[in-house]
Each structure stands twice: as structure tokens, then as C-alpha cells.
């Protein structure tokens, strides 16, 4: 049995003037025990998919199942077996850490003691603060508490909607380590994130943009499908370098990537490029062939950005 199955799911929201298509004919499935990531920016449709799967929203079209249960007909059965952590850390700010956990344990008909081993790993870090109000916790701690609350009833599937948004790198790293340990215990995990660098931590990922899935595969396969050479280019004046590279006739795409610019070419004539850059005054330009990352792949897959900006902006 598949842990999650979606078939041709469509979800639209009516607004005053038009209808917004949040999820546009999406189909995919997740195996049991898999750590599956939905990767995409805000508005890609990640939250809508999660809400459809957790029985909170009805899709306009299509069918979805969670562990064989239909999300419409069998919503009660699904609500018993899933753990859900919504995008905002939904905790009661005026209750203490312990009270929150106790509350969520009770509404799921269980107790902290019963499933303590499941959350022990995470909750141990919170225990020194268990009499502190949730509202007074830092972002990382709230995230850990929210995860504990979602886990306390020993769900078979965990839906985590952007659990690392707004959380600092240390907590993010710790969070992914926790997910790995949960996965090792056999829990299927669906996680969404706007951070491309988290994609490689999943078993399989779906890259999403504007309500559509651009590709689904393992991170390794997606990178392999990049299908062209990627170069990093660095020089002393990165701003002029960017504009010069974009003006280079053989440039297919060029994006700033932190310290370097990432470049793909339609025709690989490196000598010509070096010459070109030298003429433009980039004396110590360093050009290196590099492995693409998920973010490179994502940008390549985005056929048309949703913005009216031309790729090369007229500065």
C-alpha cells in the first residue's frame, strides 16, 4: 500500500476578480517509510496539498488517499493516524510547554507517558523549560515543541508544512537530524520547504512552482538530469561581471550564486569566454566547472518566472 496517493488533484480559490489555481492537476505517490519533500516557493501549492491530505480541504477535482483511506469519505480514519504540523507553529502561547504536550496527547486519546519514547529524543531538550509558556520560547524551541505535539499520538504519517521556515540554521540542522531518526522508526514523513538546500536531505522530492510539479525524483537523479555543464565564475567586480556574462552571446543563463555566478552556455568555447572577460576588464576571472545543485535544477525547470521582469534587467 502506498502511504500517500494523489491523482489529478486540482484546487482553486475564488478571489474577487479571478480564481486562483493553487494546485493544478497534481499526481504523485509516496511509499511507506519514505521521507518525501515538497520543494517550492510561497504560493507553489504546498500548503494546499498538505491540507487536502490531512482532510482539512476538499479538492475541486481528483482523488487522494492516505494509507488507503480516501481523504473525503474516510476523513475520520485519517484523522486518527496522521500527525500534522501546520505552517505556523500552532501552539497555545499562554500554556506551558508541558501543558501543550499534555493537551495534544489527551485530544488524541493518549498520554505523554504512553508514547514518551517516541518524543523523548526531542522533548528532552525542552524538559528544562517545561514550565515556561510556549509564547516565551525561541523559534527553534517552538518548532521542537510543535513536532513533539504532532508526534505524541504515534502517527503513522507525519505531515510537516514548512517546519524550518523562520528558524535559524542550528535549529534547522537539528530538526533534520530528528526527522532522520523518526524515519528510522518507520514513520512516513512528508515535509515541505522553500529552502533548496534542504532538498538533498529527503529520499525523494517534488519540485513545485505555481501549483504544478515540475519534476519528482531522488535529489541525485534530479541533479543528473541537469543535462549540461555548469560553471562558476568569479572576479573582482561581481556586479559588472554579472552584466558582462549575461551579455556574452553564448550565455544560456547566468545567475548570482553567492560568491560566484553560475553560468550555462549554449556553446562551450571557454577560450572565447576568457578572452571576452579579459577585454571587459575582469583580470582574475576564475571559471570552474561545478556540480549543479537542486537550486540550479529548479531554476532551469522554471520555464517562465511568474514575474514580468526580463531576465536581463536594464540597469
Amino acid at each position: 500500500m502506498k502511504a500517500v496517493e494523489l491523482e489529478n488533484i486540482v484546487k482553486t480559490y475564488p478571489t474577487k476578480k479571478t480564481t486562483v489555481t493553487a494546485v493544478n492537476d497534481v499526481s504523485f505517490s509516496v511509499e511507506e517509510g519514505e521521507l518525501f519533500g515538497l520543494i517550492g516557493p510561497d504560493g507553489a501549492g504546498k500548503t494546499s496539498i498538505f491540507r487536502i491530505l490531512t482532510t482539512l480541504l476538499l479538492a475541486d477535482k481528483g482523488e487522494a488517499k492516505v494509507l488507503g483511506y480516501n481523504v473525503v469519505k474516510d476523513y475520520k480514519a485519517i484523522r486518527d493516524i496522521v500527525g500534522y504540523m501546520p505552517g505556523r507553529f500552532s501552539l497555545y502561547q499562554d500554556l506551558t510547554v508541558e501543558e501543550n504536550l499534555e493537551f495534544f496527547a489527551t485530544i488524541f486519546n493518549t498520554t505523554i507517558q504512553e508514547n514518551y519514547n517516541l518524543v523523548a529524543d526531542i522533548y528532552k531538550q525542552l524538559e528544562p523549560f517545561k514550565t515556561r509558556r510556549a509564547g516565551k520560547l525561541s523559534g527553534g524551541m517552538k518548532q521542537k515543541l510543535a513536532l513533539s505535539c504532532a508526534l505524541i499520538h504515534k502517527p503513522k504519517i507525519l505531515f510537516l508544512d514548512e517546519p524550518t521556515t523562520g528558524v535559524d540554521p542550528v535549529s534547522r540542522r537539528e530538526f533534520w537530524e530528528m526527522l532522520k531518526r523518526l524515519k528510522a522508526q518507520g514513520i512516513t514523513i512528508l515535509v515541505s520547504t522553500p529552502y533548496m538546500d534542504e532538498a538533498k536531505l529527503c529520499d525523494r522530492i517534488a519540485l513545485m512552482q505555481d501549483g504544478k510539479i515540475m519534476t519528482i525524483d531522488t535529489p541525485g537523479n534530479i541533479v543528473r538530469q541537469f543535462g549540461r555543464n555548469l560553471f562558476s565564475v568569479h572576479s573582482e567586480n561581481m556586479f559588472t561581471l554579472l552584466n558582462d556574462l549575461r551579455a556574452f552571446p553564448q550565455t544560456e543563463s547566468c545567475f548570482a550564486f553567492g560568491e560566484n555566478h553560475h553560468l550555462t552556455l549554449t556553446e562551450e568555447s571557454m577560450a572565447e569566454l576568457e578572452e571576452y572577460l579579459l577585454v571587459r576588464g575582469h583580470k582574475n576571472a576564475a571559471i570552474n566547472k561545478i556540480e549543479p545543485g537542486i537550486e540550479d535544477c529548479f531554476m532551469q525547470l522554471m520555464k517562465s518566472p511568474s514575474q514580468p521582469f526580463p531576465n536581463e534587467m536594464a540597469f
Binding site: 517550492g40 516557493p41 510561497d42 504560493g43 507553489a44 525561541s138 523559534g139 527553534g140 524551541m141 521556515t165 523562520g166 528558524v167 535559524d168 540554521p169 542550528v170 535549529s171 540542522r173 522553500p194 529552502y195 533548496m196 538546500d197 512552482q209 561581481m238 556586479f239 559588472t240 554579472l242 545567475f255 548570482a256 550564486f257 553567492g258 560568491e259 537550486e295 529548479f298 531554476m299 522554471m302 518566472p305 511568474s306 514575474q307 514580468p308 521582469f309 526580463p310 534587467m313 536594464a314 540597469f315
Partner: protein, 247 residues
């Protein structure tokens, strides 16, 4: 590179009772530099930035922003800086043009200046069709770019960006950074606070704050070398793992 100093702090400190939110912060930022101000939640970034933009009085220490003193000349500081935050930047229930007029007016531009600037901006951002639409109806990426353009409408010496690029797609994010590069190229100093470490890699230099203290300050490349790390994320993890406060 032009080495004119536009931000200079010396042992800048803010205490709340016994709690030292920012402790003896000392650094310089140069004209046209993109300076990343990094730190975990609760590390003291926001406190430090509030002192720099003149809305919070330091407990002690010195600081000059665009040549103005943070104790006595806060009004001049405010005129010479731009500010954009992720949480608040534009009025969603006003149109693009109305927002431009409003912020132009707030920063004391004349009606004529506002009109010229407004037209330039609309041409540059390719927003002819949207100029009379409510900002609230725009996609997040456009809002960010528009907010940044408006933050530098009055040609400030320094623009402060508070966690500017959350949640947009990678291409839009690149376009945003293109704009930041351009502004820096034109001599505007860009001061970015963020806890997204990949964002830090775009900066000329970054400082990393842990528990109210600046623990490291250098170019991303140097920091990576110094900490023997492959990314800024690693650098940050190494510095912040020992943090007592916050996360």
C-alpha cells in the same frame, strides 16, 4: 574600492536591566559595501540594528551612521537611510503609485521629484500595467522588489534590509539580489540582517553575532577558510552551537 566609512561603531552596547542584548559591538562598513549582519534569533541582531537606525538609544558606546551621531542626530540619520523589512514594507491597501507618493513624501521629496522617480521606477520594474493596482494583489516577489526600490527612492547613503528575501522562488530571489548589487554599485551601502546563510554568501563581508557579541567578521571566503568550512551554514553552525541564548 572606495574606502569611505559610512557606518562606524565603537563598543556600542545595549542593556535591558541586567540583560546585555548587544555587547560592545565594534565594526566599520564602507561605502558601496554589501554587509551581512548575521545571527540566530535572539542573538541581538535586531537590537543592534535598532540602535544603528536611530530608534533605540544605546546604553553606552559610540556609533556614527552616514557621519551622524546615534545619540544626538537621529533625525539626520533617518533622512539618510532607507529601511525595508520582511514584515512591513508597503501598504497593501494602497496602489503602487500611492505607495511611491507616500514614501517619497515621507522622505521629503518634492512633488516633481516624486513624479520623475515614480516614472523611472515603474519603467525599470516593468510595472506599467500594475501601477494603479493595489500592492496587496501583487505576487510576493514583486512586492519585495518594489519595496526595495521604494526604500532607495530618496537615494539614501545606506539601506537597511531586515530579512528581505523569505519565501520567493530562486529566480525572483536572484532578481532581487541583482537589484541589491546594482544599488551597491551605485554607491549605496547595503546592510542586510538575515539568518539565511546562503544569503550571506552574496555579501562582501559578514559579521556573525552570537549571544550579543560579534564572534566573527570577514568576507565569506575568508570565514570559510578560517573555519575550514564548505559553506557559510557550516561557519555559522560552528560559531552558534555554543550559544547560550535563544536557539
Amino acid at each position: 574600492m572606495n574606502r569611505e566609512v559610512v557606518i562606524k561603531t565603537d563598543k556600542l552596547t545595549k542593556k535591558f536591566g541586567d540583560f546585555i542584548a548587544a555587547s560592545e559591538i565594534t565594526f566599520e562598513v564602507f561605502k558601496g559595501e554589501i554587509f551581512g549582519f548575521l545571527g540566530a534569533n535572539g542573538a541581538g541582531k535586531t537590537t543592534a540594528m535598532k540602535m544603528l537606525i536611530g530608534i533605540s538609544k544605546p546604553s553606552y558606546g559610540k556609533a556614527q551612521i552616514a557621519g551622524f551621531d546615534v545619540y544626538k542626530q537621529t533625525e539626520q540619520i533617518k533622512k539618510n537611510i532607507g529601511y525595508m523589512s520582511q514584515k512591513f514594507s508597503l501598504y497593501e491597501d494602497l496602489t503602487i503609485k500611492e505607495n511611491i507618493n507616500l514614501f517619497g513624501g515621507i522622505y521629503g521629496l518634492s512633488g516633481k521629484q516624486i513624479e520623475t522617480k515614480s516614472n523611472e521606477l515603474i519603467i525599470k520594474l516593468n510595472l506599467y500595467k500594475e501601477a494603479d493596482k493595489l500592492v496587496g494583489s501583487l505576487p510576493l516577489g514583486w512586492k519585495q522588489k518594489l519595496a526595495f526600490s521604494i526604500a532607495i527612492l530618496h537615494e539614501p547613503k545606506i539601506v537597511f534590509l531586515d530579512e528581505p528575501t523569505g519565501g520567493v522562488d530562486p529566480i525572483t530571489r536572484r532578481q532581487f539580489w541583482d537589484m541589491i548589487y546594482e544599488a551597491a554599485h551605485n554607491g549605496i551601502t547595503v546592510f542586510v540582517t538575515t539568518h539565511y546563510m546562503d544569503e550571506a554568501e552574496y555579501c562582501d563581508r559578514v559579521s556573525i553575532m552570537v549571544d550579543g557579541v560579534i564572534k566573527a567578521l570577514d568576507s565569506p571566503a575568508e570565514l570559510k577558510k578560517q573555519f575550514n568550512a564548505i559553506s557559510m551554514d557550516d561557519v555559522f553552525l560552528r560559531l552558534a552551537r555554543g550559544a547560550q541564548r535563544g536557539d
